[in-house]
C-alpha cells in the first residue's frame, strides 16, 4: 500500500506538491490573506462622527483623513525610526556575526551562540522595563555620567532638538536604543548564517589572487553576506513598524503607527481609520519584500 502510494507520488509529482502544500496553503493563503483583505476593505468605510458608528459604504474619505498632517507625521516618524533601527542594527550586528562566523572556534563559538540566543529567551517585557531603569533621569546612564563627570555631555545630548527630551527614557534616543536592543538578535542570526555559507575557498582564492584582507572582505565576503543583512532587516524593520509597547513605555509619547492603530480601533472605535493605518505597513513591507527578493534575501532568511 505504502509502496504504491509512493510510486504514485513519484509518477505524479504535482500530486505530492499539492498534498504537501494543501494544509499550510489553506491556512496562510486563504484564512490569513483573506482576513488581511477584509482589513483592507474596512479602510474604504468611514466613521460617522456624529453617531460614532461605522458607515458601510465605499468612500475614500478615510484615506483623505489618513493624509492629514498629524497622521502623515505618525507614518513618517515610524518609518524613519524603523529605518534607523534597521541601519543601526545591521552595523552593530555585523561585527558580532562576522566574528562568530569566521573567527570564533570551539568553545568561543558556542559562547557566542549562547550570547546571542540568551537575550532572545529572556522576556521582552522584562527587558523593556530594565531599559527604563537604565535610561531614567535618575537611572544608570546618568549615574555613570555623573560618576565620570560627564553629565554635561548627557545634558548636551538631551538638549538637542527633536531627538532630545527631559530624560533619555522620555526621548527618541531612548525609544531607538530599546528597539535596537530588542531586535538585534534577529539581525545577527541571519547575517551569521549567510557568512557561514561563504566558502573558505573563495576567501583563499581572493588572497591567492593578491587581494588584501580588506579587498577580500569588500569584494567577496560582504556581497555574499549582504542577503543576510537584507533578511535580518525584514525582521527589524517590520517589528519596529508595528510595535506599540516599546514607544509607550520608553519615549516621548509621540505616537507610532502601532499605537495609532491600537488606540483608534480601541476606545475611539474608528475601525476604518485604524484599518487605513494598517495598510501603510502592508504596502511598505510589500515593496520591501519584492525588493528583497530581487537581492536574493529569501535564500538567507
Amino acid at each position: 500500500m505504502l509502496n504504491s502510494l509512493s510510486n504514485l507520488f513519484y509518477r505524479r509529482p504535482q500530486l505530492l506538491t499539492a498534498l504537501l502544500l494543501g494544509g499550510p496553503l489553506a491556512w496562510i493563503g486563504v484564512v490569513y490573506i483573506g482576513s488581511l483583505f477584509a482589513l483592507l476593505i474596512q479602510s474604504f468605510y468611514h466613521l460617522d462622527d456624529f453617531s460614532g458608528t461605522v458607515v458601510h459604504e465605499f468612500t475614500l474619505s478615510t484615506y483623505a483623513e489618513l493624509a492629514a498632517t498629524a497622521n502623515l507625521q505618525i507614518i513618517m516618524r515610524t518609518v524613519v525610526m524603523a529605518a534607523l533601527v534597521t541601519l543601526a542594527a545591521s552595523i552593530v550586528a555585523f561585527p558580532i556575526a562576522y566574528y562568530a562566523a569566521r573567527h570564533a572556534r570551539g568553545k568561543w563559538k558556542a559562547l557566542f551562540y549562547l550570547a546571542v540566543m540568551m537575550p532572545l529567551w529572556s522576556s521582552y517585557l522584562v527587558k523593556i522595563y530594565a531599559w527604563k531603569l537604565i535610561l531614567a533621569k535618575e537611572g544608570i546612564v546618568s549615574w555613570i555620567a555623573a560618576t565620570l563627570h560627564l553629565s554635561w555631555l548627557l545634558d548636551g545630548l538631551l538638549s538637542t532638538p527633536i531627538i532630545g527630551g527631559s530624560s533619555l527614557s522620555f526621548s527618541y534616543i531612548g525609544t531607538f536604543l530599546v528597539f535596537l536592543y530588542i531586535w538585534l538578535p534577529y539581525m545577527i542570526l541571519p547575517i551569521q548564517a549567510a557568512l557561514e555559507r561563504v566558502p573558505n575557498d573563495f576567501v583563499e582564492a581572493a588572497a591567492d589572487l593578491g587581494a588584501t584582507p580588506r579587498q577580500a572582505f569588500r569584494d567577496v565576503i560582504f556581497p555574499l553576506a549582504f542577503p543576510g543583512v537584507i533578511a535580518g532587516s525584514i525582521f527589524t524593520f517590520s517589528l519596529t513598524l508595528g510595535d506599540y509597547i516599546v514607544p509607550q513605555i520608553v519615549g516621548n509619547s509621540r505616537a507610532m503607527i502601532g499605537q495609532a492603530v491600537y488606540t483608534l480601533q480601541g476606545t475611539a472605535g474608528d475601525i476604518p481609520l485604524a484599518a487605513a493605518f494598517t495598510v501603510v505597513p502592508m504596502v511598505i513591507m510589500g515593496f520591501y519584500l519584492l525588493a528583497a527578493r530581487r537581492m536574493g534575501a529569501f535564500d538567507a532568511l
Binding site: V30, G34, F37, L39, K132, K137, G139, T263, L264, L273
Partner: protein, 386 residues
C-alpha cells in the same frame, strides 16, 4: 487555485468581517462560568495576597467559575468587548457610553439585584451608565484624578491646575518644563476644560464633557501648549510611580493609587515625597461600572456577580486593594483591610468637586451639538505628536 475563486472567497470573508464578531458567542447549556474583563487588581482571588479574595467564596456559593481577563487601558476593554466572548466588564466612564452606543452591553434589571439599595444614591442614576432611564450596569468603584505633587518642591499644596497647564517657574525657582505629566487618554481634554471653566468663564463651559466647537478649540489649544511641558504622558499607574521616583516628575494629574503607593514606601518618600490635592478648579474623576455584554452567555452568573460586587465587604476590600472609593457607602465603616480612614484617604470627601469621566457624544444637553469622542481621540493623538 483559480484566481476568481480566491477573489470571491476573500470578498466573502471581507463582507463578514467584524460584523460576525458577535456570532462567536454560544450559550452554554449549563451556566458554570463567568467571563469578566476587568482592570488589574479589580477581581482578586487571593493569589497575590490571601487576605484579598472576593472570588473564591462567590464560586463556592454559586458554582460559577470566574475567569478574568485583565485589560490595561480603556482601549483594550472596548476592543475586547467588541470582539465578544465576555459576560461582564468593569468599564470606566471614557468607555461606558461608547459600549452602550455600540450596543455591546445590555440594560440591567436592578430589581433582580438585592444589594442595589446599598449603592450610593448619587451614583445610582449617573449619566455614564444610565441612558433613557435604563441602567446599563452597576457602579463598582470611583476615585478622583488628583493633582499629585512633590512636597520638596511645593512646600504648600498648589492651588491651581495651572502648574501643569501653563509654563511657569515652580517654587524651587526652576521651570516646570519637562517636570510635569498629563494623562495619555483623550479624556484628559476634559481636565483642560475643567481648568478653563474657572480660568476663562467667558467661554461658558457648563460641562467639561459637553463642549461646543469654540469651547473645544480652547481646551485643545491649552493641551497643545501643554505638550511642550510634558516629557512623557502617563498611561499606566505604576509606571507613573516610577516617573515620580526616577524621572524628576514633580506635578501631574494622578490617582490616589499612585500617591498611596509612594507614601507607603519609605525609601521613595525620603527621596521624592509625594502628596496630593484637589485644586480650586475642581477635578475630573473616574467611576467604574460593571456592565453586562449584550450577548452574555452566562446571564445568571452575571447577575449573581453584580449582586455580589455590591456587597459591603467586597466593596471595602476592593477599595483597600485598589486605592479607590467604594460605590457602597456602608463599606467605609468596619472593614479591616480598608480601615475607617481608608475612604477619606482615597478621596471620598471630594465627590461634589468631581466631574466624572463620561464619553463625550455628538448630541448633548448643554450645547445641543458637541464635539464627539472620536474627534477628541484623533486630536489628542495629534497633540501628543506635536
Amino acid at each position: 487555485m483559480n484566481l476568481t475563486k480566491t477573489a470571491t472567497l476573500t470578498l466573502a470573508l471581507g463582507t463578514a468581517f467584524w460584523a460576525a464578531a458577535s456570532a462567536s458567542l454560544r450559550a452554554a447549556d449549563m451556566e458554570k462560568e463567568l467571563n469578566i474583563v476587568a482592570w488589574p487588581g479589580y477581581i482578586e482571588r487571593g493569589e497575590s495576597d490571601k487576605n484579598y479574595d472576593w472570588v473564591t467564596g462567590f464560586e463556592k456559593e454559586t458554582g460559577c467559575k470566574v475567569n478574568v481577563k485583565t485589560a490595561a487601558t480603556s482601549d483594550e476593554m472596548v476592543t475586547l468587548m467588541n470582539q465578544g466572548g465576555f459576560d461582564l466588564v468593569t468599564a470606566s466612564g471614557d468607555a461606558s457610553l461608547r459600549l452602550v452606543a455600540g450596543k455591546k452591553v445590555q440594560p440591567i434589571d436592578v430589581s433582580k439585584i438585592a444589594n442595589w439599595a446599598n449603592v450610593d444614591k448619587r451614583l445610582q442614576d449617573a449619566p455614564w451608565h444610565t441612558v433613557d432611564g435604563k441602567h446599563y450596569g452597576t457602579p463598582y468603584q470611583w476615585g478622583p484624578n488628583v493633582l499629585a505633587y512633590n512636597s520638596n518642591v511645593f512646600k504648600e499644596a498648589p492651588k491651581s491646575w495651572s502648574v501643569v497647564f501653563e509654563e511657569q517657574n515652580l517654587p524651587d525657582g526652576k521651570s516646570n518644563k519637562g517636570r510635569v505629566q498629563a494623562y495619555y487618554g483623550p479624556i484628559y481634554i476634559a481636565d483642560a476644560a475643567v481648568y478653563l471653566m474657572k480660568k476663562k468663564p467667558e467661554l461658558g463651559i457648563k460641562n467639561p464633557y459637553e463642549l461646543n466647537k469654540d469651547q473645544y478649540a480652547a481646551a485643545l489649544d491649552l493641551v497643545t501648549k501643554q505638550r511642550a511641558l510634558v516629557g512623557q504622558y502617563w498611561g499606566d499607574a505604576n509606571k507613573q510611580v516610577d516617573d515620580f521616583k526616577n524621572e524628576g516628575v514633580v506635578a501631574s494629574s494622578s490617582w490616589p493609587f499612585q500617591v498611596n503607593l509612594i507614601q507607603g514606601d519609605k525609601d521613595a518618600m525620603a527621596k521624592t515625597p509625594i502628596a496630593s490635592t484637589i485644586p480650586e478648579e475642581g477635578a475630573t474623576g473616574w467611576a467604574d461600572t460593571t456592565m453586562m455584554h449584550a450577548e452574555a452567555a452566562h446571564p445568571n452568573c452575571a447577575y449573581a456577580w453584580l449582586n455580589h460586587s455590591l456587597d459591603a465587604k467586597v466593596q471595602g476590600d476592593v477599595a483597600a486593594w485598589f486605592g479607590s472609593v467604594p460605590a457602597v457607602p456602608a463599606a467605609c465603616k468596619g472593614n479591616e483591610l480598608l480601615t475607617d480612614t481608608g475612604c477619606d484617604t482615597n478621596g471620598a470627601a471630594n465627590f461634589d468637586k468631581i466631574w466624572f469621566w463620561r464619553t463625550p457624544i455628538g448630541k448633548c444637553e448643554a450645547e445641543g451639538t458637541c464635539v464627539p469622542y472620536s474627534q477628541w481621540a484623533k486630536d489628542y493623538l495629534a497633540v501628543q505628536g506635536k
